[in-house]
């Protein structure tokens, strides 16, 4: 039995995983990363538009700060997020952007003087301050009050991933590539590492560690069409689920991005609309102002995706052999802008559609894009059930996104959560011993080995490819943008039948080394379980919140549903997960539930909301008018961070007002 020992084991070499690995290594811990693929090919690279951080350098970002970013994030989540976590995040985002500049990211910078931009379909000239020249720029994104999305052209994820992986290489952090973690080693209370299979040789290895951090990204590929890379199959979530004790949070919270190209589902960035692009229908009509006169194309993602679907249901879509779509028009931005700031979009249009987006409209429709749900962790990134098991990034439900994530907040989460949780993981590594229980290791490896034997030598009859297609079809048809009880019930029944069938899988290719069919078979039965947590969670949640839109329950129901869904799978033979709920405490919220600003306000209020609002008013009044925003925030909802991350963030405005102060004195 091959056993490899380390202090800090990280599964997944995207931005979140690498950032945690760097934090561990910085503290002198032995650190090792497992990845399905070379680190630089991780799905983080596909994030185009940018990451949100309230630097406030550009004139359109002036006045921005942690408070505004926090409020946008909470509203965007439809009050489903953990507000303490959203605070930790908003506070550290500017630090992460600046750290990445130190590591080599060539952030797009502000140029002083006049600059022409497109706002609401009109060319507008804005004037950037002389003092801002050369500082990090930001563009507009949906659901934000300020221009806050820092970017490098439209290859932000690529630049970030390369800089962070280069940093990891410079520190000598090993990445074991083409290693697939499939099982968590645990004793019901403590996680000891994982069992992984080498995708080249087929060798099974045990990786034993003090801490194990799952950073395997989202589960978008349980859907047939998704913007996600084909490796985003939810195996990290499935591993946690299969421990029988760890929980997954809010799995039904699945985001559909408004503008993926038709039919292949490749993303065109929200930066297209942030920079001034428009959505048009079959008649060429710009329809978003009809639905959302205030925010228009830059309403929150869930809202835009629903409005697009509604509009297509009215027959206003453009017919195609692949079903109806709408148009994304960025021609008004001009060729120069497209060829510098939106060149990945231009390449995608050229290669996959054969069109020139400076001249032609782009066929788009809402497509599965992001998993708000994931492995439930506390604010330090650790599983509440399994000590030593951490999760970070899209894989996790740290829960800064609640039921809808803002554009630019996922790339931000990877590096910000990686920075924060990385420190907690390192603390854990310093304060805990390596526990080696060979009996547990043998048991876990034996289970995986038996599973593989049965797939190769067993008497099963089911094809992994067919089961996967059927699962993906069910998710597309019944667990999409709009949901309803009867369809969700169909989904649950269909998936349960598939799970039963998945116990009867067989592979035709009998090789025990590199065998893509075996890989598929090992994954598909895990994916079906993940799909069941999504469908069961959605069927049980009889309200609409953020991206979870129930046609039969259109109201956001704070009274009964201001709670987080938790799924676990204690009985390995069961056909569905157990569901529990965790209340969100309104009395602890800095920003009590309110109107999000889209459509009619049909919320059923929580009884504590009015009480908490009154309490906040009293607290603020007690502090007096002269209390600064930091004091006010602390009074309402104190939050903790590792000490090194507590300092305030300096901004251009602070520097400018200090200079003015000096002149006046």
């Amino acid at each position: 039995m091959k056993i490899i020992y380390t202090d800090s084991l990280v599964v997944g070499a995207g931005l979140a995983g690498l950032r945690v690995a760097i934090a561990s290594k910085e503290r002198g811990l032995d650190t090792l990363v497992l990845s399905l693929i070379p680190a630089k090919r991780s799905h983080s690279a596909a994030a185009q538009g940018g990451m949100q951080a309230s630097l406030g350098n550009t004139v359109k970002g002036m006045g921005d700060n942690e408070d505004v970013h926090f409020q946008d994030t909470v509203k965007g989540s439809d009050w489903g997020c953990d507000q303490q976590v959203a605070r930790m995040f908003a506070h550290c985002a500017p630090k992460a952007v600046r750290e990445l500049a130190n590591w080599g990211v060539p952030w797009t910078r502000v140029t002083q003087g006049p600059r022409q931009v497109v706002v609401n379909a009109e060319k507008v000239t804005i004037e950037e301050a002389e003092a801002a020249h050369g500082l990090i720029n930001a563009r507009d994104f949906g659901g934000t009050k300020k221009w806050r999305t820092c970017y490098t052209a439209d290859g932000t994820g690529h630049s970030l991933l390369y800089a962070v992986d280069n940093k990891a290489i410079s520190m000598g952090i090993p990445v074991h590539e083409r290693m697939e973690a499939l099982k968590i080693i645990h004793d019901g209370k403590r996680c000891h590492g994982v069992i992984a299979r080498c995708l080249i040789t087929g060798e099974l290895r045990a990786y034993i560690a003090k801490s194990t951090t799952i950073a395997t990204g989202g589960y978008g590929r349980i859907y047939e069409v998704s913007t996600n890379a084909i490796i985003c199959e939810g195996i990290g979530q499935a591993m946690a689920l299969e421990t029988g004790v760890a929980t997954l949070g809010n799995m039904e919270a699945v985001q559909f991005h408004p503008t993926a190209i038709v039919p292949v589902g490749i993303l065109t960035t929200e930066g297209c609309r942030g920079d001034g692009g428009l959505l048009r229908d079959v008649d060429g009509h710009r329809f978003m102002p009809d639905y959302e006169p205030d925010k228009k194309e830059l309403a929150s993602r869930d809202v835009v995706s629903r409005r697009m679907t509604e509009h297509m249901r009215k027959g206003k879509g453009v017919d195609s052999p692949y079903g109806p779509h709408l148009w994304l028009d960025i021609t008004l931005l001009g060729r120069e802008h497209i060829e510098t700031n939106l060149r990945e979009v231009q390449e995608i249009c050229e290669y996959f559609l054969g069109i020139d987006p400076a001249v032609d409209w782009i066929p788009v429709r809402p497509t599965q894009h992001y998993s708000m749900g994931g492995i439930r962790t506390d604010a330090t990134g650790e599983s509440p059930q399994l000590k030593g098991l951490f999760s970070v990034g899209e894989a996790a439900c740290w829960d800064m996104h609640g039921f809808n994530r803002l554009g630019g907040n996922s790339l931000a989460e990877t590096v910000v959560a990686g920075m924060i949780i990385g420190k907690y993981v390192a603390d854990f590594g310093e304060n805990n011993d390596l526990v080696v229980d060979t009996r547990l290791v043998e048991q876990a490896m034996g289970e995986l080995s038996t599973e593989i034997d049965a797939l190769i030598d067993g008497h099963g009859t089911e094809s992994p490819y067919i089961l996967k297609q059927e699962m993906q079809r069910i998710m597309m048809d019944y667990v999409g943008i709009f949901r309803n009880g009867p369809e969700l019930d169909k989904a649950v029944e269909g998936l349960k039948a598939l799970l039963e069938r998945s116990r009867n899988l067989i592979v035709k290719n009998k090789k025990r080394h590199a065998n893509p069919e075996l890989v598929e078979a090992l994954r598909v039965r895990r994916m079906i379980k993940v799909a069941l947590t999504v469908a069961c969670g959605a069927a049980a949640r009889t309200e609409s919140r953020g991206a979870h839109a129930r046609e039969d329950f259109p109201q956001r129901n704070d009274r009964d549903w201001l709670k987080r869904t938790l799924c676990c799978w204690p009985d390995a033979n069961a056909l569905e997960p157990e569901i529990h709920y965790e209340d969100l405490d309104v009395m602890q919220m800095e920003l009590p539930p309110g109107y999000r600003g889209y459509g009619i306000d049909n919320t059923i209020p929580h009884p504590d909301t009015a009480t908490r609002e009154a309490e906040i008013a009293v607290k603020l009044a007690e502090l007096g008018e002269n209390a600064d925003r930091y004091t006010q925030q602390q009074a309402l909802m104190p939050f903790e961070l590792p000490q090194e991350l507590m300092p305030k963030n300096e901004r251009l405005i602070d520097k400018l007002s200090a200079q003015v102060g000096e002149k006046n004195s």
């Binding site: 090919r41 690279a45 130190n102 050369g134 500082l135 720029n137 290669y351 996959f352 069919e517 251009l652």
Partner: protein, 245 residues
């Protein structure tokens, strides 16, 4: 478009881990569908005809660089190659040369790229201890940032390496990918290394002076990176260090 065609795929097959297996070409037939890419075709072949077929895709959107292979004689990204591009309905697929073969069309570009990065120290070497992350960042010339991004668009797909005659003859040659990255850090005002430092890693036959200027890299780079210009630039820079010595 060429709807209704039957495509013939001639695919290189070899499993180096299978005792007795020998490299061979195998033909497969597939009905073409509108908008079909080599990504779609290979997945269908694997699901419907031969489940042992090995190849690599990740983003399937031309972003991650996983899927480079030789398609009808030219190295390129398979995910964004439309089958309709080939008028004679025959498509020959070979693995990228110059890399360790994992099996069939799958090669170990990741291992190669990590080794090059370690050997050439392809990361930012900041001046001093770097800037405090709690205070205003150091300004950078906006033009410089834009130029850096242009050079940083490399996706490490390995096409330039496989298209390089020098690399095929000289195992230790760093290839256009290595030189492009050096050029990127050389341009970065935040990097503390001097031209002399770079000379020590690429001022030799394995670096800029090994290039025969056949420019297969420039011709085939899926990201249209200016390899020719950057290699010429680095050569002049490196030569200048010799003159000044």
């Amino acid at each position: 478009m060429s709807q209704g065609r039957t495509l013939t795929f001639n695919i290189f097959r070899f499993d180096p881990q299978q005792p007795g297996d020998k490299p061979k070409m195998v033909s497969y037939q597939l009905d073409e569908t509108p908008g079909m890419t080599v990504f779609i075709a290979l997945n269908r072949l694997r699901e419907e005809q031969d489940s042992s077929l090995q190849f690599d895709f990740v983003c399937r959107a031309g972003i991650c660089g996983s899927c480079a292979m030789v398609i009808n004689g030219m190295p390129t990204l398979a995910c964004r190659t439309l089958t309709s591009k080939f008028s004679d309905a025959t498509i020959t697929l070979m693995p990228l040369p110059g890399f360790e073969l994992i099996g069939d069309l799958s090669v170990n570009t990741g291992k190669f790229m990590r080794e090059i990065a370690e050997r050439l120290k392809l990361w930012l070497h900041p001046r001093g201890d770097g800037q405090d992350i709690h205070v205003l960042e150091a300004p950078m010339d906006p033009e410089e940032a834009a130029r850096l991004y242009e050079l940083e668009r490399c996706v490490e797909c390995g096409v330039c390496v496989s298209a390089c005659a020098t690399k095929q003859m000289r195992e230790t040659f760093v290839g256009a990918v290595g030189l492009m990255k050096i050029a990127r850090f050389e341009l970065d005002s935040r990097d503390a290394r001097s031209v002399d430092d770079f000379y020590h890693v690429i001022g030799n036959q394995d670096g800029v002076f090994g290039c025969m200027t056949l420019l297969g890299c420039q011709d085939n780079c899926p990201k249209d990176l200016p390899h020719m210009q950057q290699i010429a630039y680095l050569r002049r820079k490196m030569s200048a260090t010799l003159v000044s010595c």
